[in-house]
């Protein structure tokens, strides 16, 4: 019996990988995507178009404005006679800094040196960043102009652990990796079983001398293997291309990936038993994937969501996986984090596999 099962698994693997395009999509695409997203995406806001408006001969304001351009975050906007609002409405400037009437030095001496900063808030992330940058640049300028008198008594000495340069790739690569593995395994499994049903080859398999459990294993083990291989490929690419470190032991990473892939393949199988064709399987897969990705903390911090969503996030396998990945890769693997999250993920894998098996048996009979 064991040999038939092995032969079955082999057949499934060959069938999936027979198509050259499928091989490229399964192994090439995740690496290419990781590279593109790793290079392109940045949580640091840059290239902000800033226009400055002042009266003639306002030297102090000129020095403050220079501070903005010297920071590297802002780009100079050259303009004609447009009003500040027009510059923003037309999209030529993201922000406009306006000097107080009568010059900055004079109004500062009077004690009301207030500049105005107009910010285009259609893009929220940009607007927030502009204000935060402006706060730092302007208080540094004040300290430069007026010396110690303008310095606050309490200073924070900020140190960033694990990712001192706050590089986006360190943060995004583990997340994108979890997302890619999840996308591939869930949708591929769901669609492959739905396809057998569509084409009618499912009956042939059922009539083979295999038990229900063996049929299920034969259909799912290949996808678990492919998923784990993809995970390994993406970690290697992140390490080689972006220098994302793997500070914790590899076995932890392997265990976490295995637990995630078993869970997602089981969920894919479950969806396929409900779906009647591949379209339904795909849409059903996305119905699960979108919330799973959004609640995972890949892009948005989970703690920041409303209570009901946080509660739901505890049912999200991807959330545990992303936590594990960031902990193992960036922090070096804390054992408490490892066992609690891995335990939850393993429990989820068990439940999902059990549910998939039950549904699968029902649909077979």
């Amino acid at each position: 019996m064991k040999r038939t099962l092995l032969a079955f698994i082999r057949k499934e693997l060959i069938q999936t990988l027979r198509d050259v395009r499928m091989r490229v999509l399964l192994f090439g695409a995740p690496v290419i995507q990781l590279t593109i997203f790793g290079l392109a995406l940045s949580t640091e806001i840059k290239n902000i178009n800033l226009a400055v408006i002042s009266g003639p001969g306002d030297a102090m304001f000129g020095r403050v404005a220079e501070g903005f351009y010297a920071s590297g975050w802002f780009k100079r906007v050259i303009y004609g006679s447009e009003a500040p609002f027009e510059l923003i409405a037309s999209g030529r400037a993201d922000a406009v800094l306006i000097a107080p009437a009568g010059g900055l030095a004079r109004s500062a001496a009077r004690g009301d040196g207030r500049m105005q900063l107009l910010v285009d808030a259609t893009n929220l992330t940009k607007a927030r960043a502009v204000e935060a940058y402006a706060r730092n640049i302007i208080s540094a300028a004040a300290a430069r102009e007026y010396g110690a008198r303008a310095e606050p008594a309490l200073k924070f000495d900020v140190r960033v652990l694990y990712n001192p340069a706050m590089e986006s790739s360190m943060f995004l690569v583990p997340g994108v990796m979890g997302m890619l593995v999840c996308l591939i395994t869930i949708i591929l499994t769901a669609m492959s079983l739905a396809r057998e049903r569509e084409v009618g080859t499912f009956e042939t398999i059922v009539s083979a001398p295999l038990s229900d459990a063996e049929v299920l294993l034969g259909k799912t083990v290949p996808y678990v293997l492919l998923g784990v291989m993809d995970a390994a490929l993406v970690v290697a690419a992140g390490y080689l291309i972006f220098g994302v470190p793997v500070r914790g032991p590899l076995w932890q990473l392997a265990l976490a990936s295995l637990a995630l892939v078993i869970t997602t393949v089981s969920i894919g199988t479950f969806i396929s038993t409900i779906a009647r064709n591949q379209q339904q399987a795909m849409l059903g897969g996305f119905m699960f994937l979108f919330p799973a990705i959004l609640m995972s903390g890949i892009m948005y911090p989970v703690e920041n969501m409303p209570g009901a969503i946080i509660a739901a996030a505890y049912l999200d396998p991807l959330m545990y996986f992303v936590r594990l990945l960031r902990n193992i890769m960036l922090k070096g693997g804390d054992l408490h984090v490892l066992w609690t999250n891995l335990g939850a993920l393993a429990l989820m894998a068990l439940v999902a596999a059990g549910a998939a098996y039950k549904r699968f048996k029902q649909t077979l009979n």
Partner: protein, 371 residues
């Protein structure tokens, strides 16, 4: 025999509509996905980071240290907790039990109340950038408050600034995310649904059957795509309704212009879906290709979350060939800024060119593959 016959295209469209209606589950999923997405982005995603657990190691224990902790908690952003003695705040960062740590040195109260300058070390978990940048942004506010309440005199600021946020004065997260969702929905449904349906026709051989009828390729194409175009438009309309009625997102611009942008983007996406199905002719491969070239770029490279202008130079040019980037610019401009066609000339021109090009490409590929 030659030329485009609207009647024949209509027959194909009717057949396709029947296919869709016969499968209510797919229809429900196709319309349910947009609603699920908009609800999620409306309720769950807030760009204002709150509830940051702050592990405090207070080696001073004086009144000023106590007040500093109070200031962190009353800011509304931080939840200060005492560090576990022995293990220390950094261990709490390691295990993820805290997101930031504050070290207050001995003599802190004495120094600051005596009018001296003090430093407090603030350590941040850098493994989550989305949180980290926001946390650092909150510190100047605390600093200013501390000046007044600890050192006894307000910070003498020779000059300062006042920010005015235009178009979204309260920095409401929903106003930012929800108008962009149409791009994700079109990228998902228009591309993947068409790619899959047409690939299915190739897979089970019914495409050959269709081609042997007197219906011309162009008519088949229009007939097959039009119902999906309508379905996607319905999804976008759903999102619009929820955004306006449930989340109160403003709509400052012209609805007609918005519709035009949607139609242009939908044309590009449907053509892309058709092109993929002709190239792959197999649903699983079509789905993978659709995801890589359609859905993921719509989500990640369009400026939906990560601004295009912050990307490296190469990607600022590269994203120009992606219709979702231009649609996103047009959609945000119309809904929040109330921009007119003159101000959105570039996005509209690019969107028009790209969808015409995509349509031509799909048509040529479809036709040559038939011969």
């Amino acid at each position: 025999m030659n030329g485009f016959n609207l009647h024949r295209a209509y027959s194909i469209a009717r057949k396709e509509v029947m296919h869709i209606l016969r499968d209510p589950f797919t229809l429900a999923l196709a319309l349910g996905l947009p609603v699920m997405l908009v609800t999620f982005f409306g309720y769950a995603i807030d760009y204002e980071v709150k509830g940051i657990t702050l592990a405090v190691s207070d080696q001073d224990g004086g009144p000023a240290a106590r007040r500093l902790k109070e200031m962190f908690s009353s800011s509304g952003y931080f939840l200060p907790v005492e560090a576990v003695p022995g293990s220390g705040p950094v261990a709490m960062l390691d295990s993820g039990r805290a997101s930031a740590a504050l070290f207050i040195e001995p003599e802190f109260s004495k120094k600051i109340m005596g009018g001296g300058a003090v430093q407090a070390q603030f350590v941040l978990d850098g493994s989550d950038n989305a949180k980290g940048a926001a946390v650092v942004g909150y510190l100047p506010g605390i600093q200013r408050a501390a000046q007044a309440r600890l050192a006894g005199q307000a910070l003498r600021e020779p000059f300062s600034f006042e920010t005015r946020f235009l178009y979204n004065p309260e920095l409401n997260s929903r106003w930012f995310t929800v108008p962009g969702l149409a791009a994700i929905i079109i990228g998902l449904l228009a591309i993947l649904l068409t790619a899959l349906t047409v690939a299915r026709e190739w897979e089970n051989g019914s495409m050959e059957l269709l081609l042997s009828t007197p219906v011309r390729p162009l008519e088949i194409m229009v007939g097959k795509l039009a119902p999906y175009g309508a379905l996607v438009l319905a999804g976008v309309f759903f999102v619009y309704l929820v955004a306006r009625l449930v989340f109160g997102v403003p709509f400052a611009g012209s609805h007609l212009l918005y519709l035009a942008a949607c139609l242009l983007f939908i044309t590009a996406a449907l053509s892309q879906g058709l092109f993929i199905s002709v190239v792959t002719r197999q649903q699983q491969v079509a789905m993978q290709l659709g995801m890589i070239t359609g859905l993921l770029p719509s989500m990640l490279l369009s400026g939906f979350i990560f601004p295009v202008e912050s990307m490296p130079k190469f990607f600022q040019y590269f994203t120009m060939i992606l219709p979702p980037r231009w649609f996103m610019a047009a959609a945000r401009g119309i809904t929040l800024k109330g921009a007119d066609l003159g101000e959105l000339a570039v996005p509209f021109l690019a969107l028009g060119l790209l969808s015409a090009g995509m349509l031509a490409l799909a048509l040529i590929k479809f036709k040559t593959d038939l011969e």
